[in-house]
């Protein structure tokens, strides 16, 4: 199993969810984060305005999934999150050892 962390602009969250839904990905955990990338200290576009502040609001979407779905998740997120401007975001992929559905006690791929 893998965890796919997607850090994207806040305004694409709904569209990312819809695109993931099309490939039957429903389970996800979303949180508000602040970040910077290569352009630290340079200007970045946020909601149409150029601003100098170095930590910009982003949304982190964490998706735990079977190995086979990783590339289609990357494709779905990239498709809707890419504007071509700096600050479009990052995807990070991790191994995960086990998953448990608390309601049932199911473990492993059955639990995601």
């Amino acid at each position: 199993m893998k965890k796919v962390d997607c850090i994207v602009r806040p305004d694409v969250l709904e569209e990312v969810k819809n695109e993931l839904s099309k490939i039957k990905i429903h389970g996800m955990t979303v949180s508000q984060v602040f970040g910077c990338g290569l352009q630290k200290g340079k200007k970045e576009i946020y909601r149409g305005e150029e601003i100098e502040i170095s930590l910009l609001p982003k949304v982190k979407i964490e998706i735990v999934t079977d190995d086979a779905s990783v590339e289609s998740i990357v494709d779905a997120v990239t498709k809707v999150a890419r504007t071509g401007n700096v600050g479009d975001g990052k995807i990070f992929i991790y191994d995960i050892q086990d998953a448990i559905r608390i309601r049932t006690g199911e473990r492993g791929e059955k639990a995601i």
Copy 2:
């Protein structure tokens, strides 16, 4: 070492902390998240009310621990977070390579 991420209903946080305390687990990092699982787009119970919104408030509890404690953490969290209704939460388990206590510089299991 492992990281155990528990995503549970916000209202069980205190009880989870108490149950973990009984098994001598004190170190943890808590954050507010929003999530959905299998029931995306269907209704889920939140604070006694059935609501339609697809991203529900949850709490993420991250616990870094030695390998030997993982199963007792899973048991403790499951015991108090399970209501039997959909939305009880998930536990995800990851490997972790190293830990550092900043105050002392200790590393590895001594640092958790």
Copy 3:
């Protein structure tokens, strides 16, 4: 590649960013968290006051980096986050499988 999670006092965030900048580390994701460590239930200093509450506000800084930079990141963060008092924070290190820059589609170390 590795992910280095640094959980530190909120008031050192700016200084940590500056110190990381000196070693050419710019990419990071920051979030507000609450935590406890060994002193659960005991008192801890927060903004100069001794308080009893067991979950204290902390800041989590997540840095995805090449393997070779991990030790210099640990050194930089420790240097500025260590006060010598309990509650200075923790650093946790994880393996990461892949990274994608959404704007360009670049993957792996080129994408961090």
